[in-house]
């Protein structure tokens, strides 16, 4: 799937949170679950199936890639697979954040009464 076609559509919350977590650096699956939990204030709790299903789609879309080298083999289990953000992934996450920011602005404008109505 091309980045162009992917940009036109919103990214689902779980996928966006994974991209945001990977924006901080390479992560393995279990670390991603913890980061997504923290980033979403506990509202998104990923299980292994949802996590790796989303990872599979993000890999297929070229938004993330598997890291060949471990960040610090002494500190972690070398058998784990680590993932990192690609340039396309960073661009897609930024575009989605811009879209959400625009939505929030419009939403606030819609629900904030005009000065002469207050």
């Amino acid at each position: 799937m091309s980045t162009e076609s992917r940009d036109a559509r919103p990214i689902q919350p779980a996928a966006l949170h994974i991209l945001l977590a990977l924006g901080r650096g390479e992560r393995h699956g279990y670390a991603l679950i913890g980061d997504v939990d923290a980033l979403s204030d506990g509202s998104i709790k990923l299980g292994p199936g949802t996590l790796y299903g989303t990872i599979k789609r993000l890999l297929a879309d070229g938004l993330i890639e598997e890291a060949e080298e471990r960040p610090d083999p002494d500190l972690d289990d070398q058998r784990r697979r680590y993932y990192r953000l690609t340039a396309s992934g960073a661009a897609a996450a930024t575009a989605e954040l811009d879209r959400l920011a625009s939505l929030v602005r419009r939403g606030r404008a819609a629900f904030t009464p005009a000065p002469n109505q207050a």
Binding site: G47, P48, Y52, R80
Partner: protein, 247 residues
């Protein structure tokens, strides 16, 4: 093998081969490091599998066998519709609601399911097979009252044939009067109509003196089908997502 290892079998084989070990490791981490245990572990694991496995199976099917997958999904939809008609609101309405929510969630993956010729031919064949099974059951039934195992296939098969004919008629109307694009070739539509219509005719002849009841049931089922389709069309119109996300 642990229980989670067995649950992994619900995922497509290629996905299991690629991520199964990692998933098992993460599941173990959740149990050991986060202290997720007992009922909470059971419900969260079950919820995760229910949310992810069918979607991945559907994606896998659409990637490798799109025609067959669409046909299976369409047959499941047809069974849900028939369930609505035969089993009534107790089981049919929840089945229809589940189907609509599922279709809405996977709208981007499913595409126009009605374009598979195998579905058009498969539906009347499914109806005929059930009618034949019911007829065999009725033939070997020695008592005065019909056994449910003979009655049920006959009822569901007859309903399938009626629903198939109504759907074909609606589609023909849309193509010929309202100039909509046909979903499948004319030959496929004609074959499906001939299969369903021919089988209906044989059922009517076999009914003998009960033909009046057959006609009444046919009209009744047709009206229910039309009502269901109208409700379905309205729900799809109002539930259509504004944009489908791939991930």
């Amino acid at each position: 093998m642990d229980l989670y290892g067995h649950l992994l079998r619900l995922y497509p084989k290629s996905f299991r081969n690629e991520y199964g070990d990692e998933m098992r490791r993460v599941h173990q981490d959740l149990r050991v490091h986060r202290g997720v245990r007992g009922t909470r572990l059971l419900t969260s694991t079950a919820g995760d599998v229910v949310r992810s496995a069918p979607k991945l199976r559907l994606e896998e099917g659409m990637a490798h066998h799109p025609g067959r997958t669409r046909a299976v999904v369409t047959i499941l939809v047809a069974i849900a519709l028939i369930g609505l008609i035969v089993l009534g609101p107790v089981l049919g309405v929840p089945a229809l609601l589940v189907m609509l929510v599922y279709m809405r969630r996977h709208a981007a993956d499913l595409g126009p399911a009605g374009r598979s010729p195998s579905t058009w031919i498969g539906l009347p064949i499914f109806g005929i097979a059930l009618v034949v099974i019911g007829a065999i059951g009725a033939a070997i039934n020695t008592g005065d009252d019909w056994h449910p195992l003979a009655m049920l296939p006959l009822a569901v098969g007859f309903t399938t044939l009626v629903v198939t004919l109504v759907l074909i008629a609606i589609h023909e109307l849309a193509v010929r009067v309202f100039h909509r694009l046909p979903l499948v070739a004319g030959g496929t539509r004609a074959s499906a109509a001939a299969l369903a219509g021919g089988a209906m005719g044989i059922v009517f002849i076999a009914m003998g003196e009960d033909r009046g009841w057959g006609l009444f049931i046919t009209i009744f089922l047709t009206l229910i089908t039309l009502a269901t389709l109208s409700v379905y069309a309205l729900m799809v119109r109002f539930m259509r997502p504004s944009g489908a996300a791939a991930v």
